[in-house]
Symmetry: C2
Subunit: 445 residues, 2 copies
């Protein structure tokens, strides 16, 4: 049976109120898959299914933000409160932040006191910080417990924690003293003390740390979770490895789109984002880049006489100018990614320029040889000479511009990833026009 | 004390054989940080430090491939065998694969029989598959064990497994029957049977599955590890969440570089990759793209007369042609990333074309309004009309080309990410030249 037929049957069963039948056929599906199925049902049966699913709050946390908000409008208030109440604290705060003020105010009284407090706290942190992605459900232990008592405590805490594989040892003021893994506890003697076993040299992040840095720390040290502390060193949450993976993917997507000159967050979906929103994400750069192209136009206008007398030069214009832009995009792409992955730092810029110049020179000479044959074929030996010299200069300049732009943008407080391929291309184009036509005017006239 | 001064002191202590002192000052550092320090020491003291570090095989696995190979040449053979023997099985196979045949043959006899077998097996899998990144150290249990016996068994297996938080239940033929978490075991009654507790609906991947798909599965279902089975359903390894995160980052880097028209693996480092290697990664696309630019040149040559009679057209050439290229790069970037993250599938292409045409039309009209003022200012109302019509056509075509190229490349068996910004730009440039000059020749003559 194809997936579409299956969806059709599920939809039919739900429409005719054969709930048991639908649930039975969905029994072996996982939360992420159920969320996909829900996304493809019409709104009426979507609602019926969510109302009846056994693991509904877990499945709900896998739904896309748009569908969560849409369901929040149609589900009975107490059902919504139950679903949100059972979600993990970080997901719960995310859903809450997406509701409009009216919905939020309607929902709050239906939630338990502790959940209300938790939402208020977690939604108070700025987007993009550790606080905004952390969970407040983690296992804690006291320093003077025995291993046997610690395991007993973890057992009782398990339903309310994201993981029991790591427990954080706190003093009475909830200051972070150490961390201990369930593996250590299982391997230790039952009467040993947590004090002697815990690791005291704990990695942590501040609650206002950049979420990207938190994700990088988790990846670098292969952690399952990173504890988050406030200004006073008091533990306030954990960021888990799966959240770190989501952050890393979001950051990669945003950088990727920036390089293509699209202003966007990773939430943008080609399928479901409204047309006008897609338009807004793209129009700024397109209009901005017109000014870059105008520079090329002005350069060409300046040399109009030379072009008019030697119209063969126009034939090679796209080739030369394009090669500079292409080499420049390569350089900026390499640099932006190397900065993002930590392969290079800003302080390496100067030493990298030397390496890049060598690479650019090799590339330029290769291209010059190729293009001078073409020049000789369509023009004469002078045209060939103009092309060869121009090509080396243009590729060299293109590479140096492409490599430097991310650094310059950063100096002025912009994201280095804004050095998009189209931006580098238009700057290199204008430079290329000037170099080419200047060299031509010197050699040919 | 600055980091550089600290490195200087460590180097000095090692040079003067004050090993204890150096180790004492490095005591609080983590493996990933120690690997960074080692990378910055000269080769002699690098070797001394690795020889004396207490956790040397763990630190060794964090070193870059180049430094691992370099150290493998200078370390005494038995020390190298000890280090490699103690490494986790996947890291061990990775290092082994990087050694040359002579080094491999020298090393094998110094390793234990089990390690030799393990290396032979793990290095036999193709790069890019689950087999090439999996570890063969995982905890296993039998189906008819009690919970108490299972915990005892995990305790004894712990030193030889990557994780004890998940254990795989196998039958006598090592076929995968189910999976159970340490959390489940801790929460269960001691006399319960594994049979009743284990999850039998286990997610797994085949050993020849694409590593990118394995990483996506781990991210989608928020797993700590994914079991890997062979053709017969026999369990052969696990891929852990941290390996999945590394794969996701590598794939993102490769796609990112492809969009910038650089043929590269994620292993490329701007700082340490040899110049000639960087050259080779870039020259193919640069030369290839010359042909794209030649098409533009041929287009221009075809309209040489019109240009010569109306030299003002050249002024607007970069602007019009550039805008098509920029809009096209935006479309292809959005599409490549949406395909990579799973936001869209190839089957969505046709329905996406409609949305994209609408966005492109809005963008084109905006740009047309802007550019027609310029045309009127520098030329007359006819030039303004040529520019407005051309701009709408060029942006529309650019977007449709940018959106379709990833799909077309995929149809012909190429990676859709090869639809790089420079490739899209050169195709759009050539199209733009034709559209612009054709419209001009109709309206102006």
């Amino acid at each position: 049976m194809s997936y579409n037929n299956f969806l059709y049957l599920i939809n039919d069963a739900l429409k005719n109120n054969h709930i048991e039948l639908a649930l039975e056929s969905l029994k072996t599906f996982r939360a992420a898959d159920l969320a996909d199925i829900i996304a493809q049902l019409p709104i009426e049966t979507r609602q019926t299914l969510v109302l009846n699913l056994p693991d509904r709050s877990y499945v709900f946390s896998y739904l896309s933000p748009e569908i969560q908000v849409e369901l929040a409008k149609v589900l009975p208030r107490q059902v919504l409160a139950d679903i949100i109440g059972e979600m993990s604290s970080d997901k719960r705060a995310d859903v809450f932040k997406r509701l409009d003020e009216h919905q939020q105010n309607a929902l709050l009284p239906a939630l338990a006191q502790a959940e209300r407090e938790d939402i208020r706290l977690l939604s108070s942190y700025m987007e993009g910080t550790a606080g905004a992605i952390m969970s407040s459900e983690y296992a804690t232990l006291l320093p003077n417990m025995s291993v046997a008592d610690a395991i007993k405590m973890l057992r009782s805490e398990a339903p309310d924690t994201e993981t029991i594989y790591f427990a954080y040892v706190l003093d009475e003021a909830r200051k972070l003293l150490g961390v201990i893994s369930l593996k250590q506890l299982i391997l230790a003697q039952e009467d040993q003390n947590i004090n002697e076993l815990m690791v005291t040299n704990v990695l942590f992040a501040k609650v206002d740390a950049d979420q990207d840095d938190v994700a990088k720390t988790i990846a670098r040290y292969d952690l399952l979770a990173l504890p988050i502390v406030d200004e006073q060193g008091i533990m306030v949450g954990i960021v888990t490895h799966d959240d770190a993976m989501d952050v890393a993917r979001e950051e990669a997507t945003e950088d990727f789109l920036k390089v293509g000159a699209v202003n966007a967050t990773s939430k943008l979906s080609l399928k479901s984002t409204p047309i006008l929103h897609l338009y807004k994400n793209r129009v700024f750069w397109l209009v901005f880049l017109v000014f870059g192209s105008l520079l090329s136009g002005i350069g060409i206008a300046h040399f109009e006489d030379i072009i008019a007398q030697n119209i063969v030069l126009v034939f090679f214009l796209p080739l030369l100018v394009g090669s500079g832009g292409n080499a420049g995009s390569q350089s900026s792409t390499l640099m932006v990614r190397a900065l993002a992955t930590g392969d290079v730092q800003f302080k390496d810029w100067f030493s990298l320029l030397g390496r890049e110049s060598l690479v650019a020179l090799c590339l330029g000479i290769t291209m010059a040889v190729a293009v001078s044959f073409l020049g000789f074929y369509r023009g004469d030996e002078y045209v060939a000479l103009v092309l060869a010299i121009s090509m080396i200069g243009i590729v060299l300049l293109g590479c140096l511009i492409g490599m430097s732009l991310p650094f310059i943008l950063n100096k002025f407080g912009f994201d280095p990833a804004s050095a998009s391929a189209p931006l580098v291309t238009s700057i290199c184009d204008a430079t290329g026009v000037l170099v080419y036509l200047s060299i031509a005017s010197v050699i040919l006239f």
